[in-house]
Assembly symmetry: D2
Homo-oligomer: 392 residues x 4
């Protein structure tokens, strides 16, 4: 690193912090997809001191310069001094964004990146401002699963997931919007793809980044108390150590529109064998009738879960327009989800919610792991951008 | 016309007749969009003797040769000897299709084309066969309104409508399917765009081609009796004269899939002033609540109409997969229509129905008269073709 | 036709006349592709009185309304009263263009359309004005051969050709330019595809529309004298009867840019058997060397012809930018044509000429008769539009 | 790194080595764009021990897994243990390619990556085989300048360049071809963009990777002697230290087709001020005539250089089809280059060379630094793939 670089602590840098992050620490933890920092630097170089860790799923990051992706890579365990920018004219002001590609890995309590400070030979300027704020809630689709990798890639690898190629990121660029994602591959609104009923986004929505704090939560349940003498910090997930399990302050960042893209994994449960909860030994499944259709009782469970989640989202976001999305991997539950929306509207009298269906992937738009590929996300980003223009 | 051409009566020609047509006459009446004839001719020329009429909306036709559109034009009043094909090698067998572009014009009782016979210097061969049969029910979108014409064209002209550029035709080509359309611009499932509750497709679905027989029907109502002494034939619509108002034999042509794309005009009623029925003086409207949302009572009316129509369609097509489509011109009624489908499924126990949403037009896909353009129909055809591949 | 329509003679109508046309007659003869009339009419209807004829290749026409193609059809022999527009609001001003799709058929002396007058219930307004003038010289590609028809269509039919889908028309729309085409399928700059050395565009470039007057010319040669007692008018081509064979006044319409797309058929001559001139019995061919390469002496002939044509074009168009295009059906003669351009530039000192290569058709862009399809013309129109933006 | 990983020396690994590389060392130096290694590994992890260095332009690398780009990043100075693959099922065989994105930087003698060995927990299998071999010679376009970065990025940064998004890489994937690139931004066939006549590809074509050895060459000139006592190894470029400046064995890898895309920078010289050679004080320029056209004498210099280069390429590749490409950044020298090809063909009697023009960038296809963007390379890859299908 050149001699003329000067170190800046996080607190001393004007920056945009992307994603729900507890900023009370003297570092920025990137715990989930889309978490990142963004600065405008007038200078020729920019470096970041970061630390990374993981057990099974190494975190990936991406760098955008002036809004274009120029780099994407995994971060290995340990401390790194990353060069984010080099070689531009010193008088030039450049927008640099470093963000996490990999979703919060609820199954890997150690997956973490922390940004501790930045180095530059120049000065920081006011970071870019945005015209809109959108929140995206979802599953593997929102986690960009399949947006990288070959169509033949079927393993569940970290590199197959991204924020960079998801419709959230693409919409953000198109409408100059700040976007936040809360998503977890395989999870649902009532149960996960394998009938695990703990793998549901609603239970974590009110945490700062609950999906990153699975370890402590799985033993304790619920929201992480600020000071719980029973919790062994040594066994805490990295996420918890950085406040991910604490209550999120919804007033701190008010989205104009909230997109919920859940239901794809709930539907999969009808196809999968029952799930036995390892803690309780209890067994869960979704049943089909003899004619192959979904058992109405179980559909009712999904509807109730969706209605409940809508109420929870509304409670925390009184003014946001809420849109339930569905369809990129099949349409089987669309009437179920529409029923949930109708029931929620009737029960709540809340008309500021909508349903929007998205075209399913096909031979030309599919990506790795039989998931929507980049092209599918681009089409969906176009449809949602068109929609947003009618409601904003 | 060359001397070596020989005349063939309709009855003597092996042909595919497209559309719901009463074939008991010695001519083929083209009363609605997609109505047409298709032959395979080994010879260098093919001509058709046709007769056309209209009051306000002149009928348009298109010619496809070997599956490609090569001609499209209006037919003026009177008899015409149309050359459909000329200049190919005599030993060549060519597939020729002549079909009507313009929808049945319920407001113009005289709009009609009749094909009386064909001339060729060669021989007719077996016409092409199809792998599938699909039925499309709808409104102006299915009538291809806006698929021709400039974006600035706002008049309701015959040339703006088509069958050639609709998703029905495009899907037919992609999947080698025979497609039939029953559609009328401005009409709905419960009421027309202007709150006219007679302008609803369900009332005409069981006729052969009821939309072409509006004249007689508006004075008599109901299905056209075979022999009704009170009906003044001189005042009959051309459609009625050719049996369009008679009961359709649903067993004669069984579609694998039926697409219903209705609701767009029903939604428009909430924006329009009340409609006064000229016959009864009664006034009809759809109401919005003070907060601008749709009045629940009126939504109920639409839901009931949709449920009723689903029952009618199912009764007549016990084995067909029914898909309700919606969305190309806005999504406002999608939850209403989904509710109708849910209610129908619950009431009937019939699970062989689905809902599918289609992306709304945008700046790049809009056509004339603020309607979906050709590009919009191409996108929708792709989505529906993908869907069909999963259910066929 | 409605009673309130009024007849206007050609001379009394403000109109754009498209194409090189001798306007000294009291009618407009459409003798070649792109020949047409264009008016702005404030009224609800527009009709045209036309007369058509042909021997082997029936003429086709297209109608554009407000810049969009809405109709395309063949014209049979005889007089026709064509409705061009109907159903628009009377107060609306509509741009209507009627033009010929089919190239001048040098092999069919009778192919002709004449427009004698127009009928409307409204008034004619000033026709649209254009920002640019471009001339396109070429062969079957410029005649739009293959832009209509199925990929399996291999007969040389009139319907396979067009002006509507050629890059000339597309560029015209994109840049609001008036475009003229002088083209003939199978012809070249030195010889036709079959080694017929009379089938060369340069010999006809200085006529008003020489390609339409092949009949008289083939017996007499050269430009048509105004009053030649030896010419039997009864045997004259329709073109000649309308002045097509007379000298063109190049000052009457000065193109900013002239595109010459010739050479594709000259190249074909190397593959074809020798051609015997029926009049002289003399035999012509283009030879390949034993290793399969083109015989240098014959390449010289082509170069000389191209140089000569460039001189002729320049002589008649002193200020126009001239671009030689090549490539849509293979690149084999590109170095030969570039050599011609270089030689012309050296000999003439004229630097206002350029060479531009166009991408060859492929599986996705090919049309009927193994010719460039609509998609190929769209790509080429994009490339040429980009180029024009750099030189205009 | 996990304990079960085993280290393999380069010599012990079955691999494809991409690019002209002196493989006599016990490591693989990646000195230029497209240089890389490719293995098939059956195992869950793959790591590489690499070392990197640079002065001003840090080297960038990319990782493709099963043919898809999944990672792209800069390599800082020093030793790195890079994880290339992690998280796949151990029984899975995965194709992994690690390659250099950044061109040989002739101006930075230290830019280098060396691969010293690989680690895996599995076994190496036979690497993939290819159907074709293509060589691409060029300038910044071939170096992918502008394929990454925002359109507003104007600095000459390492991140703006790539192999991953160039037409070479895209064609390689489409036709399963092994591709090699010899290119340098700003260089030409006769002189560089700034009239520096040392910045010409022909002088380095016969070296293994001469562009990476600029340092020693600029003081010594010519090819690097194997053992030259006067050369101070401490001052040698990294490239030279790895044999880049030595004579290339053309028989070791015979391309079916060689594409030369040069001339774009030679043309720029006419616009630029004269260049003074710092070593000799001599001044060089390309002149325009008073009317703005290129001075014929100077055009002659370019032609001679191109002819000379064709002879050099042919001498070393007797059987390869050679195609000169031009046009992506303007067409101004196309007739000059065609003249060179014609002169070469005449002088050599060699007919196995061709000229092919490529469409210039436009508003939609331009990338960073006013260079062709990814979309432009994709279009060009399509055109060249189509061409290759006709000659292979």
């Amino acid at each position: 690193m050149a001699d003329n670089l000067k170190y800046y602590k996080i607190k001393d840098i004007p920056m945009n912090i992307h994603g729900r992050i507890d900023t009370s620490y003297d570092l920025i933890p990137l715990l989930s997809n889309g978490h990142g920092i963004e600065v405008s630097v007038q200078g020729s170089q920019l470096w970041a001191d970061v630390e990374a860790n993981h057990e099974n799923f190494e975190p990936w990051v991406a760098i955008e310069i002036n809004g274009e992706l120029i780099s994407r890579f995994m971060l290995d365990k340990g401390s790194h001094r990353l060069c984010l920018l080099r070689g531009v004219s010193p008088e030039q002001t450049t927008r640099v964004k470093l963000y996490r590609e990999l979703q919060a890995m609820s199954e890997d309590p150690k997956t973490c990146i922390t940004i501790k400070g930045l180095w530059t030979d120049g000065d920081f300027r006011e970071p870019p401002s945005y015209d809109h704020r959108f929140e995206f809630i979802g599953d593997s689709i929102c986690s960009g699963e399949g947006t990288y990798g070959a169509r033949t890639d079927m393993d569940w690898t970290a590199y197959c997931m991204s924020y960079s190629r998801t419709y959230a990121n693409l919409i953000g660029k198109e409408l100059n919007a700040e976007c936040r994602v809360i998503s977890q591959g395989g999870w649902g609104v009532f149960s996960g793809w394998n009938n695990n009923r703990r793998h549901v986004i609603p239970d974590y929505y009110e945490h700062i980044c609950g999906l990153a704090s699975g370890y402590a939560l799985s033993t304790k349940g619920g929201m992480l108390p600020a000071d719980d003498p029973d919790i062994d910090v040594a066994k805490m997930s990295t996420g918890d150590r950085y406040g991910a399990g604490r209550a999120y302050d919804f007033g701190s960042w008010v989205p104009e529109v909230i997109f919920i893209n859940l239901g794809t994994n709930d539907r999969e449960g009808f196809n999968q064998p029952p799930f036995t909860d390892p803690d309780t030994g209890k067994t869960y499944s979704l049943r089909t009738d003899p004619d192959g259709s979904f058992c109405r009782e179980d559909i009712e469970l999904i509807i109730n879960a969706a209605v409940g989640f809508l109420k929870k989202v509304r409670k925390n976001n009184p003014a946001s327009h809420i849109v339930w999305l569905y369809g990129m991997l099949g349409y089987d539950l669309n009437l179920t989800l529409a029923e949930a929306l109708n029931r929620y509207r009737t029960e709540s009298g809340d008309g500021n919610v909508a349903y929007l269906e998205l075209p399913s992937v096909n031979d030309r738009t599919i990506g790795a792991r039989s998931h929507p590929g980049y092209e599918s996300h681009r089409i969906v980003a176009g449809i949602l951008t068109d929609y947003l223009k009618t409601v904003l």
